[in-house]
Symmetry: D2
Subunit: 136 residues, 4 copies
Amino acid sequence: MTNATMSIKDLLNRTDRFAANAGCQITEVDDRHAIAEMRVTAEHLNGGHVCQGGALFTLADLAIAALMNHDGHLTFGISNSIMFVSSAHEGDQLRAEAVLVADHQKIPAVEVRVTDHSGRLICHVTGLGYRKATNI
Amino acid sequence: MTNATMSIKDLLNRTDRFAANAGCQITEVDDRHAIAEMRVTAEHLNGGHVCQGGALFTLADLAIAALMNHDGHLTFGISNSIMFVSSAHEGDQLRAEAVLVADHQKIPAVEVRVTDHSGRLICHVTGLGYRKATNI
Amino acid sequence: MTNATMSIKDLLNRTDRFAANAGCQITEVDDRHAIAEMRVTAEHLNGGHVCQGGALFTLADLAIAALMNHDGHLTFGISNSIMFVSSAHEGDQLRAEAVLVADHQKIPAVEVRVTDHSGRLICHVTGLGYRKATNI
Amino acid sequence: MTNATMSIKDLLNRTDRFAANAGCQITEVDDRHAIAEMRVTAEHLNGGHVCQGGALFTLADLAIAALMNHDGHLTFGISNSIMFVSSAHEGDQLRAEAVLVADHQKIPAVEVRVTDHSGRLICHVTGLGYRKATNI
């Protein structure tokens, strides 16, 4: 199986090593939204005994990468803003859902909500990408 | 040695499990700035073969946590904005330097530059914290 | 009529001088959302002959102020992030709708979409506020 | 005098109508930084009797426009993040200094500090632009 025939979901789950090491996995992706999931373990905690902001952002970033690269045009993240709303704790099953805010040809804009299993909002992320002329 | 007598540097390097697992370590901290460092390995790469944004943010967030909690008042990150300027590659030795933009009593503001060993800027992060009344 | 009996809509439309000078007016506000409107005139244009980013942000900020102060607790904006998606032109009738992302007791989070009369997204804004102990 | 021979400072001070109406003026610009100034009057205040966030952002945005368009390549602002650090009051003489964080060919990154006459930081702004192929 080559990259050309592998889905973006399988491709990124295999090749995004940092996200995989952090326990993040893409579970859904189409041209309008993408979902990535992560279970918070002791390995995700920070000095305050809650899920580290970098782990939350990694999960959101994986969902963004799946959504932005879904159509086969190589797209880089160029900026993100995050609002940390609630703490996530060990055992929480987190779900990041990325949706397109604007499907701009060169500079797509996305929004991500990271929620726990009860639907409580953990953090809210927005971001811009930059589409290169080349394909994946 | 208790937490009260351990430096914030040693405390966070020991207790921020996610940052430690990502290979990030605080190397300097005082009341004006904090530095955290990370060497990019194959384990930090994303599907585009460059350092994942979440790894870069984890490094920046560790430097922010060191700076914001240095005075012993428990401070949470509440928001961040990131501009990704250049890609970081396997083998790059990265350094995140966080400085205070505003030492507000309740809502401190910080800025972080992540650079590689040649001084090239990789990403620029700003952020706000919220100081709780309680001590660490 | 005192401030206590004036609605937040009437109060801000009267007292937010900069927003009023910019032609912005709150048209709806309740505890879940607020709407502010502005017609783009020649006075809103920038050097590129499109609506200046500051005019767009002023409109969004007025909607945020209405929403965040609706319950009578004085709330300051502490941070915002804006993604500029499409240009607005002279004659466009713009509408900013602010909704609560998180109704946190101290640090509420909001999201605003500024659209034109055809529903096209012009810009997307997020923000955090800080609620003071005092009332308006 | 045509646009080709007019400096970016004179050009934007004349053509950015919204910024001019808000009392903002570019006072310096070269390839590394740009300065815009504004005196806070009663016309800039919001419902909380301090300078409206939109007025502060308009000032910062003017400095960014001067810096990003200085070399004659038409550049649009695509995103901004703002941290509001201190309130500005009637009578304050404000100065926004924009500097390049990264002089990227397509996506330049800038940072702006808005300070009052005593040097106190009022707000901190970052932003990305997008350079079009066409010239001004």
